[in-house]
């Protein structure tokens, strides 16, 4: 089906004259009272207008910036022609989760960063277009299951139904392998379900993308904790030819400062899991409660911190602070999330670090002592190291704190899989060319390998793993390594 295309062809000069098309969004004053998605998405007209800005470079840079190798110029060309469903199919050839990636990828760090238009005219809105075509395909009921090759008779177990695991499952199913996903939580999706809030990624979309995989023959077992119920070795004994481990983020990091176990202090994992997976924002209709006071401080500057602080506003916080030890420039969160948080009235306290919590007689946090920081010399991450300014301590009254300073690894699989090498942080060591671990046939990817990272990096690792798993189970030798095998990414 082709959307009616009344547009005339444009030359290059005309194309660059078109401004970047913005997605209409919910009014900040309204949206902090609900959990509905913030952007409404592009309309077909806006999408076609935006797509027409693409210069169709003979040597497109955008593709090199995409961890999952989406054929960006081709899908954008189809959008200019109004062929939205066809465009979605092009994306789905390499990315099974377009409606998700269109929403949560840091495009400004990837495809849009290297777009030839970026510097002078603003990048083509690749992410918004990806999201648009995926939504169009879904809402028009045009999702079709691709033709699958005949079964190879090989079986692969995927541990964890997050972005890494879902990508592995999709790619292997497309190659004719039987895939069974084992998910510890009661719903598949991993961080897409428990972590990322509804207002940024509606859960119905995750559900739909998982159902797409199920229609491709992928089996999903929920509430199945590998390592406790069956171990990796037992999965092999049951006839699986390879196992992929994508168990994601593990235990939350805390800052190890005084008073951290006072009531009212959450890890971001817990805070978001209560609100998202358990839908505690709908208490008491839902049984899981969540406490949000009037003054909420969220520690950290990443996407998880933005998700937490924006959730707290929607749950009634009067003052919602981001407390971050570096400055605005160093914040690792997506630009769009920071922008949305600012619009919604989040108060940013940069160059500030908590030193201890002060509790009341019942064990509830009532204040946080902070110290001001300044930026010193660059550290190993290349960012300027924050240094405390002596004597700059001050007290911030807070009744809720969300600690969003990263995760360490989940110990369940390394503990119960003999011969599986993990580094000192508990992250599984893999060969980056194949994502294969020290155990032949055991592959891993996503946060369990890299420590806390992004959805798309996990999906990218899933793609590399799927390719290697295919070779492994089919007895095809791996390619010569492109990258020198190094230990899993440093923290």
């Amino acid at each position: 089906m082709t959307y009616e295309n009344k547009n005339k062809p444009l030359d290059k000069k005309e194309r660059i004259k078109i401004p970047r098309q913005e997605m209409p969004t919910q009014d900040p004053k309204e949206r902090i009272k609900n959990f509905r998605e913030v952007p409404y998405g592009l309309t077909p007209e806006l999408a076609m207008m935006e797509a027409r800005r693409c210069l169709a470079c003979p040597k497109p840079l955008c593709m090199s910036g995409c961890p999952v190798e989406v054929n960006i110029p081709e899908f954008i060309r189809l959008v200019t022609e109004g062929k939205f469903v066809e465009a979605a199919k092009v994306i789905k050839k390499t990315n099974a989760l377009p409606a998700i990636c269109g929403r949560v990828c840091p495009q400004e760090e990837q495809c849009e960063k290297v777009c030839i238009m970026t510097k002078k005219y603003g990048a083509i809105a690749v992410g918004n277009l990806e999201r648009f075509v995926a939504d169009y395909e879904r809402t028009q009921g045009k999702i079709e299951i691709p033709k699958l090759p005949p079964s190879t008779g090989k079986k692969v177990a995927v541990v964890g139904a997050g972005p890494a695991g879902l990508t592995v499952a999709a790619d292997l199913a497309m190659l004719g392998h039987k895939v069974v996903i084992f998910e510890a939580l009661h719903k598949p999706g991993g961080v897409l379900i428990y972590g990322i809030p509804e207002f940024r990624l509606p859960k119905a979309i995750v559900k739909s993308e998982v159902e797409y995989l199920q229609k491709m023959g992928v089996e999903v077992h929920t509430s199945f904790v590998v390592g406790k119920l069956d171990t990796v070795d037992e999965l092999f004994e049951q006839g699986f030819d390879a196992v992929f481990i994508g168990t994601g983020a593990g235990l939350p990091n805390f800052m190890k400062i005084e008073g951290e176990n006072l009531n009212g202090i959450y890890s971001a994992n817990e805070f978001l899991t209560r609100s998202n997976l358990m839908a505690a924002y709908d208490f008491p209709n839902m049984d899981t409660p969540i406490f949000v006071g009037e003054n909420v401080a969220v520690l950290g500057g990443g996407n998880t911190a933005m998700d937490s602080v924006r959730t707290s506003l929607r749950l009634g916080a009067k003052n919602a602070y981001i407390v971050y030890r570096r400055s605005h420039t160093e914040m690792p969160a997506r630009t769009e999330e920071i922008h949305h948080a600012e619009q919604e009235g989040v108060q940013f306290m940069f160059l500030t670090n908590p030193v201890k919590y002060i509790g009341d007689e019942n064990g509830w946090v009532k204040a946080m002592e902070c110290i001001k920081m300044e930026l010193g010399e660059p550290d190993s991450s290349g960012r300027r190291r924050p240094v405390e300014i002596p004597g700059s301590n001050f007290v911030l009254p807070v009744d809720t704190v969300v600690v969003a300073v990263g995760n360490s690894s989940n110990p369940l699989i390394p503990q119960t899989t003999p011969g599986l090498k993990a580094n000192k942080w508990g992250n599984i060591e893999v060969d980056p060319n194949t994502q294969m671990s020290s155990r032949p046939g055991v592959f891993a990817g996503g946060d369990i390998v890299t420590g806390g990272a992004t959805v798309i990096l996990a999906a990218g690792a899933g793609k590399v793993a799927a390719r290697a798993i295919h070779k492994y189970v089919m007895g095809i030798p791996f390619d010569e390594p492109k990258v020198e095998a190094v230990k899993s990414a440093a923290k």
Partner: protein, 286 residues
Amino acid sequence: MFRILDKRELCEKVQQFRIEAPHIVQKAKAGQFVILRKDDSGERVPMSIGGLDKKNGILTVVIQEVGKTSGAINRMEIGDQLADVVGPLGIPTRVEKFGHCICIGGGVGVPPIYPIAQALRAAGNQVTTIIGARSKNLLIFEDELASTSDRLLISTDDGSYGTHGFVTTILQKLINDGEEIDMVISIGPVPMMKAVVNTTRAPKIKTYVSLNPIMVDGTGMCGACRVTVGGKTRFACVDGPDFDGHEVDFDEMTKRMKMYTRYEKVAYERFLEGECRLAKKAEELH
């Protein structure tokens, strides 16, 4: 999937369920726990394992009604199914030949002592079990524990049965009598566990406690279940549930367990009101 095969009231507000969960039962060991979810709107609640019927794949849990979730589960009937039973979670209780072990259970902490006493005895230990309740009619699992212990001692707060006093009254007497005790494990309300470790601290008896703090995922992700042990933050779901009792900060744990009291009250009242309305409606219909 997780069908209730049998249900029995052990005492007021305490129900014993036998649940079909063959895979979990096959893997579970004494001291581990499961997470239950009643239905799609339900919360994830950690529950101790009160028995493992390995032959038939049946899991026993004993639930005391203290709020909405426990109340709603306790009203489920034989043949009903739980949305989820996740497990076995946590590290099993350390079972080896210690010599003379004392297993102490209080309240609904009594049932999980049963598989532990069984395992310790099977490992060649001499097992003394002490169980306590406020009153004789609230005492549960007496027969089960009598059958798996070399000696079963009972206390009631009101003196209606066994020794008048607490489980620690009995424990203190055993210590005073000069009994050789190589290990103590205790499961029950926090004040009871705290009293037990205070009793064994001076004579330096190795004492394990099985903690049941608030959890959400229970698989090492959310960090809700953090407890301070030996001055360090530990996670009961993956580092526990058993910890060296002499190292646990029980006062902090007590406060943390009250984090949602206000919400629990709202949910429970609403639940009971709903039940009242239903009962009235049923009456009107008749």
